[in-house]
Amino acid sequence: MYSVDGKKPVDLELKAGQTQIDLSSALEAEMESGDWEKVVLYGQLEVPETTVEAVFPQEERESPPAKLYVAVRCHSTIYRDRTIVSKSPTDDGVYDVTIVLHKDVVRDEVELRPYLVRASDRSRDGQYAYKKNFRVSSGDIYTVVVDRPSDEQPPAIDGEEISFSQASHLPEGEKLYYLDFRNEARPKLWINSDHPRITDVLQSRGSVGAEARMRDVILDQISYGVWIQLLIRAGSAIDGDGDVDFEWQQTVLETFARNLYEVDDLSEAMQRLRTDLGEKESLPHVLELADRELQEYIDHRTQLINLMEEGLSI
């Protein structure tokens, strides 16, 4: 449920597995009749008994010294905060959650992620987290869209159309695109305008019809090639401290690394990726993981079915 400026709460109607909460249309409608100041989201979080058993020693399970909160992050406004859901002790069970988003501090998208952390120190025995504020468990990331993406939003990387046959610094042949890393700090995607039939489709603005459906399929195809390069490049750039040099590398790793290894800890995922990319034996395995993850992320299937059903009528 969500409520804008204290009005009657509205059901979010999330489908199973849906983690994007798009409020942009509802908030745009509010702005037409004035403005909005805050959105309140209502939900529930479950701390399973199995989690408590897995992350706390026997003697602490009766009254787990843990606090449960939701991290609230907005990339566009450099905003990081938290909403406390339960102070210590936090038993297993279901908790009501209320998240307040003030318009003044958010724009575009807001990320919500629950964390269970230790609330006190204990003696170190190697098996369980022992320090206050050590993360012991986390949940799915939910993304709240508060502003409709505008055409002006900066893309993850720069892109430009150019005739490859006329540009000496771009590859020869009938390439469709080229991801340019000459400036490692800011990769650039060049689209080959030697294929006007394709670039015309890419420039189409519609959301329905054969051309729009074809555009989405072509974009998926290009994005697969682009993402895999960005992921491997970013993974190869991780240094011994687990840091990378550029923002785009961090963004790419934050997006994919945890899912690649199915772990919650970004640093752990980055270290594993760094290790795997550094060893000849594990490289094919990383590529397989990346392929699986990107198929999930890009979801080619949806746009292909849209093309078949709406664009090609089959």
Partner: protein
């Protein structure tokens, strides 16, 4: 009190007007061309641009070219004169307008032209990269370090470029309680301590969830790390 003036933004298309000659300071942008690509900020926020003009002029006259100290001299003024919300500050077009249209002399006075790419960042960077746009970085570092109108931490940060580099280049610098705690604790420390302590603090966050830390907890953690660094 000076009259508040409307804030504008440079549109995405307007960025194309910024060429290498402009970045080098060898050419200006035609005002008619520019006016087609400048529009009021959504919601029409205002700011005390008259006072900011004065503050910028003072810095231009009192500091030599490329002197890093002008950051500290101007940050407070930028933040106070641009009394805007983070939502407004999150629009890159605002910072592009300020850098390209309103204060290009300041950008060139503060940042030496080293390459087109680097200078383009100083005029046309923004977003969550605190290191890019010349004016955006002053506002955001002040925003993240000012405490209830007190700019002591902000001023401390800008007197030490190692602090600016090592703290605001890290991802924990997006969490205000941690930024304030780290900057306070490190303000009198030498560069090598700042360098190693911020690296260890960042590393500690592989297990500790950043947003769970209060300012006091973040300060306890960084002070413990500083002690370890100095005794190692």
């Amino acid at each position: 009190m000076a009259e508040e003036q409307t804030l504008y933004r440079l549109t995405e298309d307007g960025r194309r007007l910024v060429g290498e000659q402009f970045l080098k300071g060898e050419a200006t942008i035609d005002e008619d061309d520019l006016s087609e690509h400048v529009e009021p900020m959504p919601g029409e926020p205002t700011a005390d641009l008259e006072s900011l003009d004065t503050a910028v002029d003072t810095v231009l006259s009192e500091y030599s070219e490329f002197e890093t100290a002008m950051d500290g001299a101007l940050a407070r003024g930028v933040h106070q004169c641009l009394d805007i919300t983070r939502r407004t500050a999150g629009d890159p077009g605002l910072w592009h307008w300020l850098a390209v249209v309103r204060y290009p002399e300041f950008v060139r006075h503060r940042w030496k032209y080293r390459s087109e790419e680097a200078m383009r960042e100083k005029f046309l960077g923004a977003g969550s990269d605190l290191y890019s746009n010349a004016i955006h970085r002053l506002w955001w570092i002040a925003e993240l370090t000012a405490v209830d109108g007190d700019y002591t931490v902000t001023e401390d940060v800008f007197t030490n470029q190692t602090m600016v580099n090592k703290v605001f280049d890290r991802w924990f610098a997006r969490y205000r309680p941690a930024v304030v705690a780290v900057c306070r604790a490190l303000s009198d420390e030498p560069s090598w301590v700042i360098d190693e302590s911020t690296r260890r603090f960042n590393h500690a966050l592989t297990n500790i969830q950043l947003e769970g830390l209060s300012e006091r907890e973040a300060e306890d953690l960084i002070r413990r790390i500083i002690t370890e660094v100095k005794s190692s």
